[in-house]
């Protein structure tokens, strides 16, 4: 196995994704040329729907990082960041982004043309500390861009109360006022409702697609996780709905015709934590043992339905819930979610990625491991790696841990 490796995809619709990615970045550059304001923002919040509703162009530095990893740009970006004094112990998304904006950004030959320069930067007050800092560096790098400091209560999902929602709503209203002032564009609430409706439809399709993974054999594995791109960048648009509809149709057909990811599915696996973006081929590694990754933590972040009749409140709820759902903010809820997924997807074993680049998702994994064993009798293996930095990943150690684990599961299932 290679240290950096692309995944083998089985869906025909997965091939369309390359064009969807290219179109998104092209649209960003065209928007820049046309004078359409561009805002850099963190993912998993309600900003995207507002942007599309106001005909503004969003850009997602965190999403650019996996793209960099796929194109092999991460090493160069890390080098730039480390020369600036950034510790290798910091989150890889952050180091990649900072390295990119202070390094190769704007140079010739950057794949997809890179990120278009921001006219606005949103500094998040919620989410993880590396994300907060990442955007602070972005604001420093682009002093001409208008900056909005956006607050968001950090609260476990099970503790969300009316006042948290009201504050999140007041912040969204402040954002709308800011956008109106900076861009001169007014928000049409009917368009916002439509964006929220499309977003909700995308979430419904996402849930439907994920539900087909319960079939045996599963028609879709984590090797196709790139599908998530439309959930990150195109929520609130018809593009996401149309694409996910085609994916859903294909997955449904495969499920009904019992076409699995591999010919002889023997072991069903759960993946906890962010994938190794520079080695999505790792998801195919398990196939030599008859193993398929049929569910993962990260995909749950896109499973939040929105109340179309209350668009602002729906976006507030989405903003409040997305990050806690997949992090240590809401450990109880996260554990419940993993256990439920393992039951629903008939999981035989779990791969817990102890992620050097993401403590908020890694913390609590050992409690999850114990709960899986004690409550469901599901064994886990912990692999030490990093979602962005291949230097923190050893193939030999991975194989040393995973091979006997898979052999053990094989013996158990047979």
């Amino acid at each position: 196995m290679e240290k950096t490796q692309k995944s083998t995809k089985r869906l025909a619709t997965a091939k369309e994704l390359r064009q969807i990615v290219a179109d998104f970045y092209l649209e960003g550059h065209q928007a820049k040329q046309a004078g359409k304001p561009i805002g850099w923002m963190p993912p998993m919040n309600g900003l995207i729907e507002i942007f599309y509703a106001m005909d503004l162009m969003p850009a997602f530095p965190e999403n650019w990082s996996p793209v960099c990893a796929a194109f092999g740009l991460n090493d160069k970006n890390f080098q730039t960041a480390e020369e600036m004094g950034f510790s290798r112990d910091l989150c890889g998304y952050m180091r990649n982004n900072v390295g990119y904006i202070y390094g190769m950004m704007g140079t010739a030959g950057v794949p997809l043309g890179g990120l278009p320069e921001p006219d606005m930067v949103f500094l998040p007050g919620g989410g993880c500390v590396p994300t907060m800092k990442n955007f602070q560096y972005i604001a420093r790098r682009f002093p001409e861009a208008k900056v909005f400091k956006a607050d968001l209560p950090q609260v476990p999902i099970e503790n969300i109360q009316r006042y948290h929602i009201d504050y999140a709503i007041s912040e969204i209203n402040r954002i709308i006022a800011f956008l109106t002032e900076v861009t001169g564009r007014k928000l049409d609430y009917d368009r916002l409702k439509e964006a929220v409706r499309l977003s909700d439809q995308a979430c419904a399709l996402w849930d439907e697609i994920m539900a087909y993974r319960r079939y045996k054999p599963t028609p879709l594995s984590a090797a196709e996780i790139g599908l998530m791109f439309v959930m990150v960048t195109r929520q609130g648009t018809q593009i996401a709905v149309d694409y996910l509809t085609r994916v859903r149709d294909e997955v449904r057909e495969r499920a009904e015709r019992e076409i699995g990811v591999i010919a002889d599915e023997k072991i069903r696996l759960y993946w906890d934590n962010i994938p190794l973006w520079y080695n999505l081929g790792l998801f195919n590694y398990f196939e030599r043992f008859g193993g398929v990754v049929v569910a993962e933590t990260y995909s749950a972040a896109w499973s939040i339905r929105l109340d179309v009749d209350k668009p602002i409140e729906a976006l507030a709820m989405k903003s409040l819930m997305s990050y806690p759902m997949v992090s240590c903010v809401s450990m109880k809820r996260r554990k419940e979610m993993v256990l439920r997924a393992c039951r629903d997807y008939s999981i035989d074993g779990a791969i817990l990625h102890s992620n050097k680049s993401c403590l908020p998702i890694t913390l609590g994994q050992m409690d999850i491991e114990r709960a899986l064993q004690e409550e469901l009798g599901i064994s886990s293996v912990i692999i030490e790696a990093d979602h962005m930095d291949p230097r923190n990943f050893s193939i030999a150690q991975f194989e040393e841990r995973v091979n006997p684990f898979m052999e053990m599961l094989l013996a158990r299932t047979s």
Partner: protein, 370 residues
């Protein structure tokens, strides 16, 4: 250097593991990690707030629950909790700043609970709506404390605010003397005084502090040799680093630490009611990187340099401390632009790299001295 009697503070630090369970027999004791925790509110409820001590200790149990790339303070704190050393606590209350304490508090509850384990969400802005939101979060904490028998009213909160204002005023006075090189205490003595306040009942601590300030006032101010520096980082529980700085030719003239200036500045807030006073103080407090933008910290650190006459800044980070490691490149860049020398070092809880630190401090002071 010091002829001042620090024994009440030294004893309080040395004996806290024995003293605190005894305190807990009389009143509920709640732990906290971060200086963004509204300890006045906990005290006003009739409880004793104490900072969780991590300290130097071998880590075994915590390794079964968290990876090794967690900062030493969090790992050792969890280790002690799992060993049962914090059984006397009725819970842990935390201002939500860094991601890691938020996760650790949940792991603690799961594995060494039960009790009141609560992270207080904090505003990122200072708008009116942020203030209203903050008030709601504190009201929620008040209710949670009430469920544990706490009884907070305007008078009790006012009294607690007054008490902590006096404590912070005394500590700020010591900081001020240190800025002027008129403090007859070694750096390790200074931080022992501060450390004692994290576990003593505040009324007792205030008396000790007042005696100390009075004793210091009676002494002839004496200038201490050494190149003045600011020490910046999160928490430095082990005073070895300060001793190493002083023995290498430096003098700690100011700090940007959780167990230093960040705890006591400002002493108080203002407002039409006690809750507003509390909110005002915490919203104007000396910032931590986890809840502020880098530019604001640059301004604050430059102010400290101005006031203390520091000739350089030594950043002492706990390994894997994301908020501080993330701010460092920009802070260093801004300070260097102003010709201020900076040094960055990392430590673990046992300061196992003390030989290396000593060499680096000596080289740094030699460079500044030249």
């Amino acid at each position: 250097m010091s002829h001042i009697d620090l024994s009440p503070f030294v004893d309080a630090v040395r004996e806290r593991a024995e003293l605190l369970p005894r305190y807990a027999e009389r009143q509920k004791v709640f732990g906290w990690f971060c200086t963004y925790t509204p300890i006045e509110l906990i005290h006003a409820a009739g409880f004793l707030p104490v900072r969780i001590y991590g300290g130097a200790t071998p880590i075994k149990l915590a390794n079964t629950l968290v990876p090794d790339f967690v900062c030493p303070y969090m790992r050792t704190s969890l280790e002690r909790a799992l060993r049962g050393e914090y059984k006397y606590l009725s819970g842990v209350i935390q201002g939500y700043t860094c991601d890691v304490p938020c996760g650790i508090i949940n792991i603690w509850e799961e594995n060494a609970g039960p009790g009141l384990f609560h992270s207080v969400p904090l505003p990122y802005n200072t708008t009116e709506s942020a203030k209203s939101f903050y008030r709601e979060t504190l009201t929620e904490l008040t209710q949670k404390l009430a469920a544990y028998g706490g009884n907070i009213d305007a008078d009790s909160l006012q009294r607690s605010l007054d008490l902590y204002r006096e404590i912070r005023t005394c500590l700020l006075h010591l900081h001020e003397l240190r800025f002027q090189n008129r403090l007859a205490l070694s750096a390790s003595g200074f931080y022992t005084v501060a450390e004692a306040g994290f576990s003593l009942p505040p009324d007792v601590y205030l008396k000790y502090l007042q005696s100390l300030t009075s004793a210091l006032g009676n002494k002839e101010p004496r200038k201490t040799a050494g190149i003045p520096v600011i020490v910046s980082g999160s928490l430095l529980e082990d005073t070895t680093v300060f001793d190493l700085i002083e023995s290498a030719g430096g003098r700690v003239a100011a700090d940007d630490l959780c167990n230093g200036y960040r705890f006591c500045c400002p002493a108080d807030g203002t407002g039409s009611d006690p809750m507003e006073r509390l909110i005002d103080r915490y919203m104007r407090r000396f910032p931590c990187p986890a809840r502020s933008v880098i530019g604001d910290r640059v301004i604050r650190i430059k102010e400290l340099i101005e006031r203390s006459g520091a000739a350089g800044v030594i950043f002492v980070f706990q390994k894997f401390c994301t908020p501080h490691l993330a701010d460092y490149p920009a802070l260093a860049d801004e300070l260097k632009k102003d010709g201020i020398p900076v040094l960055q070092v990392e430590t673990d809880e046992t300061i196992s790299n003390r030989g290396q630190l000593k060499t680096r401090f000596e080289a740094f002071f030699e460079m500044i001295g030249v």
